[in-house]
């Protein structure tokens, strides 16, 4: 019985100064191969300067069914945003 190559999630930094961003996924037998494959699959057009690979099974994701309790409570915290505060026009650049 043969096992399939596991799935990996690929994160690429496009250039220094930017964060690694999720680019997609691919299959590889091990981490080194995942890096090599990611280089060939996702940076053929000069899209990256750094790559992270994470085996997909190691990612813990939030459950969308809990989105209400997870994320909605943050919606009404308007006082966290600068526009919540009134300042006279004379005060510039704050």
């Amino acid at each position: 019985m043969s096992k399939n190559w596991p799935l990996w999630e690929i994160f690429v930094r496009s250039k220094n100064g930017l964060e690694h961003r999720h680019f997609g996924s691919l299959h590889a037998a091990d981490a080194e191969m995942a890096l090599e494959n990611a280089r060939d699959v996702y940076t053929r057009r000069n899209e990256g300067v750094s790559i992270w690979v994470v085996e997909s099974k190691n990612i813990t994701a939030s459950n969308p069914e809990h989105n209400g309790e997870m994320f909605e409570p943050a919606q009404d915290k308007v006082y966290r945003h600068p526009t919540f505060y009134d300042l006279p026009d004379e005060v510039k650049h704050m």
């Binding site: 691919l26 299959h27 590889a28 037998a29 191969m33 090599e36 494959n37 060939d40 699959v41 053929r44």
Partner: protein, 256 residues
Amino acid sequence: MSSTLKDSRLLENYILTIADNSLILAQRLGELCGHGPNLETDIALTNISLDLLGQTRSYYQYAAKLAGDGKTEDDIAFLRIEREYKNCLLVEQPNTHFGYVIGRQFLFDVYHFMLLEKLQNSEDETLAAIAKKSIKEVSYHKRFSGDWIKRLGDGTEESNQKMQEAINDLWRFTDELFYMTDAENAMVEEGIGIDISAFKESYYSQVSEILKEATLAVPENKYFNKGGKEGVHTEHMGYILADLQYMQRTYPNMQW
């Protein structure tokens, strides 16, 4: 530099001994596009083919400029007779199975890297520049093929057998890599070419080390074949050229 040469034909010939390897290996890898063991590996091998093709073009464009007779990179690539191609026998060997593809690549990459490392210091500025650019690509090829040698050698019993079969079969073409032609000797004297024969020992020790790590036996065969660098090829070469040259031969003197 080249203008001071007594015979720029020798330099052209020297360029071809390097460039033809890249062309023919790129052609062999091109055959595999769409037929790899899985998508990721297919894409990786095509990348190597594209790197080699890019190198080929840089060398041929330079050779065409040296010839100065209006020839183009394509004339050099497509319109020579078989005896005029100077690639080594190793790179023209067929894609018998994936073990052969990796074995051929690995045995060539280790050599290729050594050659380019030195060629970066050539007194010929153009060659040095091409080598500088190419060595980054070839450094990656070498790592890629070396990793795969280990995977296949130290993978399953079946893969070990297949990888060993390929290495045993291809081994007899390795000695030619270090054979020096007249053009090579002349270019060494000019400070342009590389005395690659000096690297033979280091080559075999590097290759052996990785083979051992891959739990593969280093072949003990002491009988080698050569001829490609002098234009005497294996029977495979005619068929490679039949494909490669098909359009240019069937429809001569046209732009594509």
